[in-house]
């Protein structure tokens, strides 16, 4: 600190000698705020305040604290407002670590208070009390970190069990899907795309894993649609289309009456993946957020995947054309927010496509 910040008070108001010794023993300094925003040091400072007080070694000196410490500058702004309001009580700065020339930073805390219409600033070196606070907090956080690590390990093991279940489910679903010319890769991709959207939405890990398995079950109800309709090469008649629509209800029935969260989710998806955002879908003509979010997600990824890949009845469509066509459907067929999320994660969607190319299509 420069000598420009200090000056001997005209009428020193230092604390009485006994009180001064007590305060010094507590490793704190007391300052009285003067009208010109300077401070009068009322107690003899200890070495803990050398960085803040500079060359000041004894009580009775008037000084400016501006620029003495970045943190104290910040607190003095709050303190000035507090003193101005004239409220009783005190405000605390919270602890801060002040760098010292001797290397080790010191933990300090300031308090602003009013007494007899005068404003005072107390700065305390927290010393051992701070160290004790750090130890308690460190121990609590170390404990939390250990708990987190254990939870991660449980999750890792659960996921490894789940992967085996997923593999069985995928193989069965892929076998069922071949009936209408779909591939096993399509089934897998639908789950992975849907899970990627759920990740982008910040879903909880277990729910994402459920969606990854449940989404591929969206068309499981096609098992109940006659071959003559399911595998008809041309356009469906009105009656045939009505029968085809039943696959949503059949799927929901197959997956219903279960308390297993994954199957409940799969039922929602099977029933709702042909609903449209504008309420013109089927089977229930639900609109907007009445349609379960998982179903809304699958609607988007199912359309995308069907369009960009070859089917027995059509060649693959270039992705830019697909996205342009789908953009027309945002807010009409699709949830516009989820479609935006889908667009936001296109690099991941493309990576899933590249990693899970179609095998030969079984007709």
């Amino acid at each position: 600190m420069t000598s420009g910040r200090t000056g001997r008070a005209a009428s020193p108001l230092a604390a009485p000698p006994d009180l001064g010794r007590v305060l010094s023993g507590l490793d704190m300094i007391v300052l009285k705020r003067e009208l010109d925003d300077s401070f009068l040091l009322l107690t003899d400072p200890t070495a803990s305040f050398a960085e803040i007080l500079g060359t000041v070694r004894a009580a009775g000196v008037r000084l400016s604290l501006r620029g003495a410490s970045d943190y104290l500058d910040h607190f003095l702004f709050d303190a000035a407002e507090f003193w101005l309001r004239g409220e009783p009580g005190r405000i605390r700065s919270g602890p801060w670590l002040e760098a010292q020339r001797d290397g080790e930073p010191r933990a300090l805390e300031a308090q602003a208070l009013r007494h007899n219409n005068e404003a005072f600033l107390i700065i305390e070196h927290l010393g051992a009390a701070y160290d004790a606070q750090v130890r308690v907090l460190q121990s609590a956080r170390d404990h939390l970190l250990k708990e987190e690590a254990l939870e991660r390990e449980v999750l890792r093991r659960t996921q490894s069990i789940r992967l085996r279940e997923e593999e069985i489910a995928m193989r069965l679903l892929a076998a069922a899907a071949t009936r209408d010319g779909e591939t096993g890769s399509h089934v897998r991709r639908i789950g992975l795309y849907a899970a990627a959207i759920a990740e982008a939405l910040g879903w909880e890990t277990g729910r994402i894993a459920d969606l990854r398995v449940a989404a591929p079950m969206h068309d499981v109800g096609k098992i109940g649609i006659p071959d003559a309709i399911l595998r008809k090469p041309g356009a469906l008649s009105e009656e045939e289309f009505r029968i085809m629509q039943d696959h949503t209800v059949i799927g929901a029935r197959m997956l219903g009456n279960s308390e297993i969260p994954l199957l409940c989710l799969a039922r929602e998806i099977a029933l709702g993946h042909h609903e449209k955002w504008n309420g013109r879908g089927y089977p229930q003509r639900l609109a907007g957020e009445e349609i379960p979010v998982a179903a809304r997600i699958v609607t988007i990824v199912d359309v995308y995947d069907a369009m960009v890949h070859r089917r027995v009845y059509k060649p693959p469509i270039p992705e830019p054309e697909v996205l342009a066509a789908m953009a027309q459907g945002a807010g009409r067929d699709f949830d516009p927010h989820l479609f935006d999320v889908f667009l936001g994660i296109l690099p991941t969607i493309r990576a899933i496509r590249d990693d899970h190319l179609d095998e030969a299509v079984v007709i």
């Binding site: 970045d70 943190y71 910040h74 933990a107 606070q133 956080r141 910040g202 936001g344």
Partner: protein
């Protein structure tokens, strides 16, 4: 010399202090040392021809035991929201802190730092979440306090960005 105040915020044990220590002192310690209160470090740098003193406010990690005081942001040129790539919930905590700061201080320049890139094979923060944040316009910086990768760029890119914001 221009003074730029930059705050480090985030959940506990995401590596805020380690990033500062790596940047200011080129050091790293494996052991987790919790921060209580605020520690201010300074570093003088040159951004082009402009000398800048960075005042880096390392704020205690947010959790049940310690809550962020949004007033700490007063006078800040911006803040780095730090998350640990290996702990997905620290990203949620960072985004929640961001909402708190914006609600109390209004919009301030910030960047989201994904730390612990040296452990990328253990990351829980997945590409879709990252892509989504980028789509929403969140400036994302990655690095590792342990290896030092990306750390200098993280601070100086952000300082440079803040300086431009201030000029405009």
């Amino acid at each position: 010399m221009i003074h730029l105040k930059l705050c480090m915020v985030g959940a506990f044990s995401v590596g805020k202090s380690s990033l500062v220590q790596r940047y200011v002192q080129s050091m790293f310690s494996e052991k987790y040392h919790t921060t209580v209160g605020v520690k201010i470090d300074k570093k003088d740098i040159a951004l082009g021809a402009t000398p800048v003193r960075l005042l880096i406010w390392d704020l205690a990690g947010e959790d049940h035991f310690s809550a962020l005081r949004p007033t700490f942001m007063r006078g800040a040129a911006g803040y780095l929201l730090v998350a640990d790539g290996t702990r997905a919930h620290t990203l949620d905590a960072a985004l929640d802190l961001n909402r708190q700061i914006e609600a109390s201080q209004g919009p301030l320049p910030f960047a989201l730092v994904l730390n612990k890139e040296d452990l990328i094979d253990q990351w829980e923060i997945t590409p879709p979440r990252i892509e989504m944040l980028e789509r929403r316009g969140v400036k994302l910086l990655r690095g590792s306090a342990k290896s030092g990768a990306g750390v200098q760029a993280m601070f100086e890119h952000f300082a440079s960005h803040s300086l431009k914001e201030r000029a405009s």
